[in-house]
């Protein structure tokens, strides 16, 4: 049968509940009760409001349905079954090894935009998709985001609420499933729906309170949502967790487990059904294009002094002019990261996210859902604020470029709160990531251009202060490469970014003493060029100094050791080991023991000893 009346919708909702019970029973785990609370909300949505071509998930006119409460995956997969997108057999493969129907949704499923399951991320990402719809694609698709009430405690949800209102995202509808119960008990606000509507309205949203099991009321609410202009709408729905099965309905202790008596539950829900929903077709339309041009990267004169963060800004403008898919985002520090150049030259494709780094990264993730190439920038230290979003973006198979400025103690007087000293560790341990750390403006520009062609999450670490330009503007820096910038056969010194220049100064000093140092620029921290490193240590009797403006853990030093695992070395690792304070950049490099003097001293010690472990 198909859905032709609201009465049919009620039956569909029961089917979604039954299928949620069935698949979680087959799996022996999962979240049926969190699915059952939102079944009516989804039944009305897919029957009358969602516009989606399941045969063509990349149709740019498709609506987007994001389950911010990703643990309600049984409901989502039951929706897919109801639309005919998955078979009943596949539905019952839920949570089995090899099934794309995992415990929480991921884009292994073609109709899933992004992975959810870490709560509080779906709505911020939905804001990114909705921004793309309004300002980039310029298509009338809508973004529907099902949110749980527990996750409304996450500040990231309110960053999203704030930005959605600010940007007037009337193409976004948040569906709040207020079922009162979290994992371990009642939420902060229980069924006090007004506590949510009051907040939402204070931020500028339209908010509609409904009984989330009254399909007529839900229908009217969606109707109001799609006809509201100038601001986003939230449907604040009072629901019962486990609705329809008395043994679990509105009960504590029923979160995240298969039902004890599924057969009785299915009978209570009226048994299995095979309703098929014909989801409405999306409108026809072509996404806006900004046009492409020739790539004319900035060119810096060898011997001049230019900050790599400035080269990032210059290169980003060049890239944006060459590639209409490139967009830039920043967290209210564009005059420090130099994304302000892009904002001035290409304002249509620039997004100011204010000081909200979770929303910054989430917006980038949302935009790349629609095929845009986001470059998001802030101080590298402040990406620690969004680490969960970056981690989840890897599960989302997201492609985005992140630029972190103000790396390390070399920023100087501002002190440790502004110094990124763990960013390399953080980004190296992101699945499939690329981690770049240029030492020179021409190199930085080339690497920025490369980032626009990489799959996955890439990160570039830039330096606050000016550094000498040592490479010509036509040199190439492939990802996974390293550069021998000085030949030598007594000791290898590996640096990157600011420390490469210290290494070169150390090599000069050592040369005066008759010590021949080989200097390697490890601009690609991940992947790392093991062959060049091996050749270098072989050429220098196994003597190796690695120097980095980063804590000792997880950065350049450990990347090098992993690449050379098992090699016999005389090894010195210079890194930041004590908490830095304020001071001049040179003073802080010296205090941390990562300046030229410290490098030369370490190299001298290795050369004067025999190679030994």
């Amino acid at each position: 049968m198909t859905v032709e009346s609201l009465n049919d919708v009620r039956e569909l909702a029961q089917q979604l509940r039954v299928d949620s019970v069935r698949c979680s029973t087959a799996a022996g785990s999962g979240h049926p009760t969190s699915s059952m609370s939102a079944a009516d909300l989804m039944a009305v949505l897919i029957s009358k409001y969602l516009r989606y071509d399941f045969a063509a998930p990349h149709n740019p006119n498709n609506d987007h349905l994001i389950f911010s409460k990703g643990h309600a995956s049984p409901l989502l997969y039951s929706v897919y079954k109801a639309t005919g997108a998955v078979t009943d057999e596949e539905l019952l493969s839920f949570r089995r090894l090899g099934s794309r129907l995992e415990g929480h949704p991921t884009p292994k499923i073609p109709w899933v935009d992004v992975a959810t399951g870490s709560l509080g991320q779906g709505l911020p990402i939905a804001v990114g998709v909705a921004l793309a719809g309004k300002r980039l694609d310029r298509l009338p698709y809508r973004v529907w985001c099902l949110c749980g009430d527990s996750e409304l405690a996450e500040g990231s949800m309110w960053e999203a609420v704030e930005h959605a209102a600010f940007a007037g995202l009337d193409n976004l509808t948040a569906i709040l499933d207020i079922n009162r119960l979290g994992q371990r008990g009642e939420t902060m606000h229980g069924w006090d729906l007004a506590s949510y509507t009051r907040r939402l309205e204070a931020y500028g949203w339209a908010a509609i309170e409904v009984d989330g099991h009254d399909v007529e009321a839900i229908d009217r609410a969606y109707e109001e949502a799609v006809s509201t202009t100038g601001r986003p709408t939230a449907i604040v729905a009072r629901t019962l967790k486990g609705r329809g099965v008395k043994a679990v309905e509105n009960q504590e202790g029923q979160h995240g487990k298969a039902l004890d008596d599924p057969e009785a539950a299915i009978a209570e829900l009226g048994g299995e059904r095979n309703i098929r929903v014909e989801v409405a077709e999306p409108a026809a339309g072509e996404p806006h294009e900004f046009g492409n041009g020739e790539l004319a990267l900035p060119r810096y004169e060898v011997g001049s002094d230019v900050a790599t963060r400035k080269a990032y800004g210059d290169a980003l403008v060049a890239l944006g002019k060459a590639d209409g898919k490139v967009v830039a985002l920043d967290g209210e520090v564009s005059n420090s990261t130099y994304s302000e150049f892009f904002a001035k030259e290409l304002p249509e494709r620039y997004f100011e996210l204010y000081i909200a780094e979770q929303q910054l990264v989430a917006a980038a993730v949302g935009m790349q859902v629609r095929g845009w190439r986001p470059f998001a920038s802030t101080f590298a230290a402040f990406f620690t604020r969004a680490y969960d979003f970056v981690r989840m973006a890897a599960i989302s198979q997201a492609t985005m470029a992140l630029s972190g400025s103000h790396a390390g103690v070399s920023i100087g007087e501002d002190g440790p709160s502004q110094m990124a000293l763990e960013d390399l560790a953080m980004f190296r341990s992101v699945h499939g990531s690329t981690v770049l750390y240029p030492s020179d403006a021409n190199q930085a520009a080339k690497l920025v251009a490369t980032m626009a062609k990489l799959d996955g999450i890439s990160f570039i670490r830039t330096t606050r202060g000016n550094t000498p330009v040592i490479y010509g503007p036509d040199e190439e820096f492939p990802v996974g490469g390293a550069r021998v910038v000085r030949e030598g056969d007594d000791v290898t010194i590996v640096g990157a970014g600011i420390t490469l220049h210290e290494a070169l100064r150390a090599a000069d000093a050592l040369a005066d003493e008759g010590v021949s140092a080989r200097v390697v620029d490890l601009y690609s921290v991940k992947p790392v060029d093991a062959a060049t490193l091996r050749d270098a240590v072989e050429a220098t009797q196994g003597r190796l100094v690695v120097v980095e403006d980063h804590w000792p853990e997880g950065g350049v030093g450990e990347a090098v050791l992993a690449a050379l695992a098992g090699e016999e070395l005389a090894f010195a690792h210079l890194a930041v080991r004590a908490m830095p304070g304020s001071g001049k950049p040179a003073e802080l490099l010296a205090a941390a023991g990562i300046d030229a003097d410290a490098i030369a001293a370490a190299a001298r010690r290795l050369v004067s000893s025999a190679v030994s472990a």
Copy 2:
């Protein structure tokens, strides 16, 4: 002179402005304009409302003054000068190497509770201090928190607003310095004060709009704040950035730099002054104590199967009963982390923070300010949400214990969003941290007890599933140690947590083939026991397999390589290298290549080859 009238307060405010200009001019950098906007707010506060004994910063009755907008450090240091706590000479050492008056405040200064400078953290930490005042210390001290308007875009601020209202923190006053201008331009809401008060009131705060340069109005607002009960108060103050110096007042492009013409500015502000403020003495009172007892850690039978997360919960209760300073916090997953045992047994010292991991960590930081020993728990994966707070807590010299459950692919069906695969990298690269990863319930209990005695930030990684108890309840596990759990001379296998048990199974299989494997339990990932590792590889001809349920970067493998840097090894590193999905724990361990079969295969390959790099 001293402050005896509101007219004197006006003069004091001008002094604070002049001194902010003077010290940032001496430094050649800093944020004078962001200091000048809040000078009147601080002048009234310290003259009439703050109760603080600068000679006794650890007096438990002292109020707490937290600059959430840490970049206004010139104002804070000028306040210290006005109170006589620092000399004018020291004030002028601002931002110099070795001065405790750093670019952003840190607890190197005895009157600073916590480091700020990463925006959006001061208010959540202030909530933690205020919670300690209400529920732990039970003293009437107040917490005053100066916030910027730019940082109100951070979701963490709204986690704090939400929790403060929920907890009825009428001992907390947020002072919002709405100076309209962020770093690169206007904030989202400019001078629309109502946009802030509307939000604050929707959350349940009292909110008072004032002209932030009208000392009478400020005085009335503070009076109202201290007399408001049952809820926190925000003073929403309209201010001018750079107030009092026309060249910079309310101008864009004047953020974060010393003034161009400081002499003219000082003249315009009425010249230097030397007003000395007598800050009111705090009340007398003794903090509440919960009493201590004998430590009776849980004891598990060797050979039984117990999850280390359960041992965490059991041990935490024992610790809480033994040590009245121990408090527990959780992010709405206490029935998974097993902090629910503490919640049930010691509810007075248990704090439910709901799904707000930033506020969870911030509350712990705030409580340790007052000498409590917080243990905060959530899924290890979700601590990524609070990485910036952990990073800053290290700068704050905070002592707290964090417990992350559900490590790695071994959690099974829930899928990658719930799997911590980067937590070891994240916590290893926190300055001064201790990272523990027990494999067994008795070991976990002992390590939890140890964490209560450690300085700094400690992290324990626990496992979801049951694992065999292999250690007796009286064995000791010092931090920085490792355990040889099986002797052998052909190959060393290093595991931790779940992989230790896989390593033991592999060793059994290898023994059947005549290969003698030494198995090392690396329960202390940081600091790491380099001596035991060196002895092991020397005893096994340099053959080493490291196996971990974590991405390859930054975890156990790299910790071991760093400890053995330069040793010639035949090395195999088994880690999670492909994105996992759902499946049974054993299936996922096998799919990742970190189960007993994979370990045995890797060991066989090393044994059958000659040792070589």
